[in-house]
Symmetry: C2
Subunit: 233 residues, 2 copies
DNA sequence: CAGTGGTCTAGACCACGTG
DNA sequence: ACGTGGTCTAGACCACTGT
């Protein structure tokens, strides 16, 4: 949208994308180095670097030191999904957010959980079952497990007035997380909790969080029927 | 992990994240400008700029010219999901990818489709129903609609030997796309197509694609039972 | 209008990883 | 070992937008 500037990194990106689309550079092949390209396009290397760096982050090319930059053979499109805090998400729709703790127990972690969190030890975990409501309507059922070895403060927190996610965000920094979207048919418990027919297709989000290889918490969230996530590319 | 350098943008990011976490700068409040910060941290403004730019793209802060940079009150965590081409996805698991066209018709678009694509006119659309298999197992059912006004080449393409997505990627550039994840209970048709029990919870992905405000194609993909999308933050 | 972020430049040093 | 990307710097001009 501008030819006024010197040679914007955006222009470079578009030009390179066009070349890739026109297979001037074949998929899988090596493209010229930063210095060569910046000379060809008449821009500073920093500018070219930013263009290429963003293209790499967009999944269009792959860069390796010494090896150079090559066109990805399968241009993996990617979508950025915002995972809002549930309170914001609900309040944004105009409803009141309400939270309720259903059950709070300390347990030894079941095998599937140990496998999921990649832990050897049998440290105790805090198991929380909660509901989130939008106005009077059930919005989400949450099955939360917190590793007490890495988050000992959780042992003395009742979680009756604050939901686990908000508490964790405030109290515990994390470094890595894994998110899994899947679906499930509502069983008896879920159908009652979420007030949906038995067998209804539900959207689920699992989230595992670590701090430097130490697992902090695992959560599985079951959304009300009809929930959807949307994003733009 | 390095104090060797001068002051890396990564260090700056971490330092700022820590300040936000420690509420040195309260949510919603304004933080100092780039110049002030770069002086305080002893780095060039370009370095500070990159750190702040990435933090903004991570959804931690919000930046506006003249207005300054402020901490987001609701730090929206976001996940980047890779949306692979189905052939790659299947072949990556070691199965053969197979594609089958079920039905190909030219129609006037139904109302819901016109609404979805935000189009006034009643231009004809090409409607394709397809199946994708992993080995002998049904993997995905695809319901695809292509706007013939914007993609006239599709009219003379049989789509018997190439799937719509691969053809479109090769032939038609696009500028914007919207992706929607949701779930559905398998109806009679889906249960037969995907070989799952009636009512099974299925993962669905809708995708609408534009080129400069002109709608190109709408697709709704129904995945086999048990499908999940996963990502790391 | 004036302040803040957005971007470009030209040059430099460094780290990684292939050959 | 050495080439390629990764990053930092110091300085400059520009574009947007709140006042």
């Amino acid at each position: 949208m501008s030819a006024t500037q010197k040679t914007s990194y955006g222009d470079v990106k578009n030009a390179i994308l066009k070349r890739i689309h026109d297979t001037v550079w074949a998929p899988g092949s090596l493209m010229p180095g930063e210095v060569a390209l910046s000379e060809e396009f008449g821009c500073a290397r920093a500018t070219m670097n930013r263009a290429l760096r963003e293209l790499a982050s967009d999944g269009v090319i792959e860069r390796k030191r010494k090896a150079g930059t090559r066109i990805k053979s399968s241009p993996t499109r990617q979508a950025k999904f915002v995972i809002p805090r549930i309170r914001e998400e609900i309040e944004a729709t105009g409803f009141d957010y309400r939270y309720a703790l259903i059950e709070r127990t300390e347990e030894t972690p079941p095998d599937w959980l140990r496998a999921r969190m990649g832990r050897k030890g049998g440290d105790d975990v805090l198991h929380l079952r909660c509901m989130h409501y939008a106005g009077s309507r059930a919005f989400q059922y949450e099955d939360r497990w917190i590793n007490l070895a890495s988050v000992p403060k959780a042992r003395v927190q009742a979680f009756e007035d604050i939901n686990p996610n908000e508490w964790l965000i405030r109290e515990v920094p994390f470094s890595d997380a894994e998110v899994i979207f899947s679906t499930v048919n509502a069983d008896q418990m879920l159908s009652e909790m979420l007030n949906v027919p038995l067998g209804a297709a539900l959207f689920t989000l699992e989230r595992i969080t670590w701090f430097k290889a130490m697992p902090l918490t695992y959560a599985k969230l079951y959304f009300h029927a009809g929930y959807q996530m949307t994003t733009r590319l």
